[in-house]
Amino acid sequence: MSARKAFTTVELITVAALLCGAIALWYYVLMQARMQSGDIEDEQSFHALSASLVGELRRDIRSSLSISSSAPGKWEIDTVSTDRECLPIRETVVYELSQDRLKVRVTRKEKTKTYDFSKASDGKEISFNIIP
């Protein structure tokens, strides 16, 4: 009757291979979960940013006298509002989609506000259009 005192080489290699396989599988699952989490965050950011832009644009359209497109990806909205003395004032607001189709710039009273979708869309070009 012979007693075994150590593992054979084949046994050690088999265990090491199984461990490597398990680690690889665990890492793959972790990476997949991380990517999905990142996608959801990007989607939420995009929805929040687009909701803010649409909200501002909706206000301008509702107080608009005319909407015209002076160039591709550029719209001028002639709005009317009231000043501090409740007198009507006219104001032109310009919405412009950038050349790289990642940002929307809103120019009002010579001040420009930029909605930057580059991170939220993960570098993908966005579609933005105003149809009068």
């Binding site: 909706r58 009317v80 009507p88 579609s127």
Partner: protein, 251 residues
């Protein structure tokens, strides 16, 4: 009360059928005047469409004559009686309520100052430094002058951008550019600072032919108003010795 129930049910049934007819009629009517515009936004083919109705008819808002200021008409046959001030009586009866203890008097020479103003030494310029890479936001507590000192040392693409925001959080741009922007693509190319939309050629000097380096100690001054925000940002491959310093009494 019991024999009124069928009558009420009959009445409510006739009202509901009438409202149904009205709803059907309204849904069939075209409403071109309410549709002002459509907004389309999305990524790739996943586009969402919003329809926005216009509340005001086109061209009518500014053409309406401005009404004259109205004033309340005087009511005839009335007499105006002086209002009794209960505070006088109260103060006579309970003087301890309206008298401030002597211990409270003259505690502070600046009773209306904010915590930041109290903690800040009056009139002493304070320097906020952003070293290496990162971002820093500074809000002006009062009107005043800010001195910006920038130094961008790098061997790879790097940026220093200083943005100015108004009280509402909107960025103030100068010819479509931030307040200060400095972008270097490598350690030797000529890439000067752009301040208020204008290029400052003195921000770089030629150390040897074709090898440009940033000029140390260059600074720019701006006037800020209370509530405005200055955001300092350094990004890219900026070396740790790069810095942006904002010196002012308003921070």
């Amino acid at each position: 009360m019991i024999f009124q129930k069928p009558l009420m049910e009959k009445k409510s049934a006739s009202i509901s059928s009438l409202s149904l007819l009205l709803l059907l009629h309204a849904s069939l009517l075209p409403l071109p005047a309410l549709k002002a515009a459509q907004i389309e936004i999305g990524i790739d083919s996943a586009i969402t469409t919003f329809t926005v109705e216009q509340l005001n008819a086109s061209g009518t808002s500014t053409e309406q004559p401005i009404s004259e200021q109205t004033t309340p008409a005087a009511v005839p046959g009335t007499t105006v009686a002086p209002v009794i001030e209960p505070a006088d009586e109260l103060s006579q009866r309970n003087p301890h309520i309206f008298t401030r203890p002597q211990a409270v008097e003259s505690v502070s020479t600046r009773p209306n100052a904010t915590v930041e103003q109290v903690l800040q030494t009056q009139g002493t310029p304070q320097t906020q430094t952003l070293s290496g890479k990162g971002s820093k936001e500074l809000v002006a507590l009062a009107d005043g002058e800010v001195s910006l000192e920038v130094y961008l040392y790098t061997y790879s693409p790097a940026d220093i951008v200083v943005r100015l925001y108004d009280e509402d959080g909107n960025e103030i741009r100068f010819d479509g550019q931030p307040l200060l922007s400095w972008r270097r693509v490598d350690g030797s190319s000529y890439a000067p600072v752009s301040f208020k939309g204008a290029v400052d050629s003195s921000s770089m000097f030629e150390e040897s032919p074709g090898d440009y380096s940033p000029t140390p100690g260059i600074s720019y001054k701006i006037d800020v108003k209370k509530g405005q925000k200055v955001v300092l940002t350094t990004s890219g491959g900026a070396e740790p010795r790069s810095y942006v310093k904002a010196t002012s009494t308003v921070f």
